[in-house]
């Protein structure tokens, strides 16, 4: 019985906070928009089985068909995946050296460094993204500094472009990439690197041939932890991006709040979910293989 409770609790949690919301959204996606409160039909007005049967009878896949009709959605999904992919690579490139130097720092320093990586989370995410406006705008800190140093004569146009979005994403998601890579590198036996040098590798060759392959699980975990949330990212592109920065999170927001078309917004969300399930499943399988390999 106790066992059942222990096992049952996480499932109950999943059912309550994943399955129920998912079914609610799915139901909305299958419904039609309506000028009403709430703004969709069929609503479950009549209590009991008869009412439910009526609701189910009113469901159709119209919204999904509608999505295929307008290439805005198609382009938004593609653009989101592209932005997520590019920013994941950029984040990894910045995160790896940070994680490496943390893992190589003196053990007494490591908790402090770890703390510093997590520290930005103590300030509101929204405020931190807004702060980037002050840095990246034409009259911002970055342009002023570069112009004062005489490196540029015209301010660089960064804010309200994809570049600003990339900067914002890399900045925001950096800790998610640093932590798994650090955890992996920190566990690595330092004598592996010495053994590689001893057997004839220069330090750089040893790094490529031994450290990078061995930190692959950490790199993959970091990539997924960045990629998956960035695909659906809304705040960063809407604050730092330009009007032409097309991301599915923004499309979803517009459908929901500007058009008040809850059913189409829900259909967009459902497709996004299925798009993300593929990398999530890949990630799980990789993790599984890793566990098996470590025996």
């Amino acid at each position: 019985m106790r066992r059942l409770i222990v096992i049952g609790f996480p499932y109950l949690w999943l059912a309550l906070f994943f399955l129920v919301p998912f079914l609610t959204v799915l139901r909305l996606a299958l419904s039609d928009a309506d000028i009403a409160i709430p703004p969709y039909t069929p609503r479950w007005d009549e209590p009991g089985w008869a009412g439910l049967r009526e609701v189910i009878a009113g469901w159709d896949f119209e919204n999904f068909v509608w999505l295929t009709g307008d290439d805005l959605y198609y382009r938004a999904y593609l653009s989101s995946l592209r932005i997520a992919l590019v920013s994941t690579v950029l984040t990894l490139l910045v995160a790896y050296p940070i994680a490496w130097s943390m893992a190589k720092a003196r053990p007494a320093w490591r908790p402090t460094l770890l703390m510093l990586v997590i520290l930005p989370f103590w300030t509101s995410f929204l405020i931190r993204v807004y702060a980037w406006i002050g840095i990246l705008s034409n009259e911002g800190l970055l342009n002023q500094t570069l112009m004062a140093m005489g490196l540029i004569s015209e301010p660089l146009l960064i804010l309200n472009t994809d570049r600003a979005v990339y900067i914002g994403i890399v900045y925001t998601y950096l800790p998610f990439a640093v932590l798994p890579i650090y955890a992996n590198l920190e566990r690595m036996d330092p004598s592996l690197l010495e053994a590689a040098c001893d057997l004839g590798c220069s330090r750089i060759a040893a790094f490529w041939r031994v450290v990078i392959p061995l930190s692959r699980p950490g790199i993959i975990a970091a990539a997924f932890l960045v990629f998956i949330p960035v695909v659906g990212e809304f705040i960063i592109p809407s604050i730092l991006g330009g009007s032409d920065t097309l991301m599915i999170g923004r499309v979803l927001w517009d459908e929901f709040f500007a058009n008040r078309d809850w059913p189409v917004a829900s259909a967009v969300a459902i497709i996004l979910l299925f798009l993300l399930i593929i990398p999530i499943v890949l990630f799980q399988r990789q993790a599984q293989r890793q566990r098996e390999a470590e025996g």
Binding site: A196, V210, A293
Partner: protein
């Protein structure tokens, strides 16, 4: 049929004309205020199986890491085959190391681990295959070539590490506690394998260990270290029979040390006056001035125990306080006048029930003058 001629005695250190492979001179390593290695002078010859022996923190590992190139000396010089090693990075030294943790690459198979160094060297592919197969045969792991390190046992991993470090045919192989992770039975067996491999390949081995038994078994010579200094370098037998100081005597094997003042020397026999008044005679090749504080070192197995006063150069009466029965041998702890406990070890040729002595028996301990060693340090 005549017996083959006995092999010539291997003792290049005794030959004045021999040129050492490794020459350490005034080698020093400091970490801040701590001196890990202090003014070490050492010559190691080709084909030697040389042990650096000492407790943890004595600097033995630091010397090894300096030879491998992972640490730069603070002072002194190191030469290998006449070449000064200062500033030569690890990947440019004809030296390989077998790590205490083995440091096998977990993402590579056994064969790829062994081939790792050869590939870095740019050896042709077919030659690499041949060399890997040869190494696998040497350590008897041919069947496991395709396995990953986590799929084989600890003893097999140890052999892969050995094969990998020998694959490049280094002039010098460094072994850091090579058998430390193995259980006792496997360790004894592996010691002999290690000696065979060393002999067959003719490689010079320098091994770091804190296990004196291991050092005694495998080495041609042993350097006993203490607090960054080498206190004695000699063959295992010499170290055991003629320790140079109280530290060495106590570190290697079991020993009785009797503190005494030197008396007169006649015909090489030195008279010692122990604190409790006992007079002990000991042979001493080096003259010890009368009045010097010194210690008599006598190994327990060289002390005879008997009921009646033995007809030996030295005889001390005492009482058995403790008996440690170890199966093959029994050690008697005998209290002599003055309260000091001396150990006498007797091989158990007979069954235990037939043993002559029991607790609190009055007995005599005896040994000849040649059995003891006088230590002034």
């Amino acid at each position: 049929m005549t017996d083959p001629a006995p092999p010539p005695v291997f003792a290049p250190w005794a030959d004045d004309g021999a040129v050492p492979l490794i020459n350490l001179s005034g080698l020093t390593k400091r970490y801040g205020d701590v001196t890990a290695v202090n003014q070490v002078d050492l010559q190691i010859y080709e084909r030697e199986f040389f042990s650096l022996l000492g407790p943890s923190g004595c600097g033995k590992t630091t010397i090894m890491r300096m030879l491998a190139g992972f640490e730069e000396p603070t002072g002194g010089t190191m030469t290998l085959g006449g070449q000064d090693l200062a500033g030569v990075p690890p990947n440019k030294r004809p030296v390989n190391m077998m790590f205490q943790s083995y440091a096998l690459f977990p993402h590579l198979s056994v064969a790829d681990n062994i081939a790792f160094g050869l590939r870095r060297e740019g050896m042709p592919k077919s030659d690499i295959e041949g060399r890997v197969a040869e190494m696998l045969r040497l350590v008897q792991l041919t069947k496991l070539a395709k396995r990953k390190p986590h799929q084989i046992s600890g003893g097999q991993r140890q052999r892969v590490a050995l094969a990998r470090s020998l694959a490049k045919a280094p002039k010098l192989l460094l072994l850091d506690e090579p058998l430390g992770a193995l259980d006792k039975k496997l360790r004894t067996q592996t010691q002999f394998e290690l000696m065979d491999i060393q002999e067959n390949t003719g490689t010079t081995f320098v091994i770091v260990t804190h296990d004196q038994e291991e050092a005694m078994t495998v080495s041609s010579r042993v350097a006993v270290m203490d607090e960054g200094r080498i206190v004695q370098v000699a063959t295992p037998a010499e170290i055991y029979e003629y320790p140079g100081s109280r530290y060495v005597a106590e570190f290697i094997g079991d020993v009785n040390l009797i503190e005494a003042k030197a008396g007169t020397t006649t015909d090489g026999d030195l008279t010692l006056h122990a604190a409790d008044g006992a007079v002990i005679t000991v042979q001493s090749a080096v003259p010890v001035p009368a009045g010097t504080d010194c210690a008599l070192s006598i190994r327990p197995e060289k002390v005879a125990i008997s009921r009646d006063r033995p007809d030996l150069d030295n005889a001390l009466p005492g009482k058995i306080m403790d008996i440690a029965y170890l199966g093959n041998v029994t050690t008697y702890h005998v209290e002599i006048a003055g309260g000091q406990i001396l150990k006498a070890m007797v091989a158990n040729a007979a069954q235990r029930s037939e043993q002559a002595f029991t607790w609190y028996d009055p007995v005599w301990l005896g040994w000849n003058a040649a059995r003891g060693v006088v230590l002034t340090r």
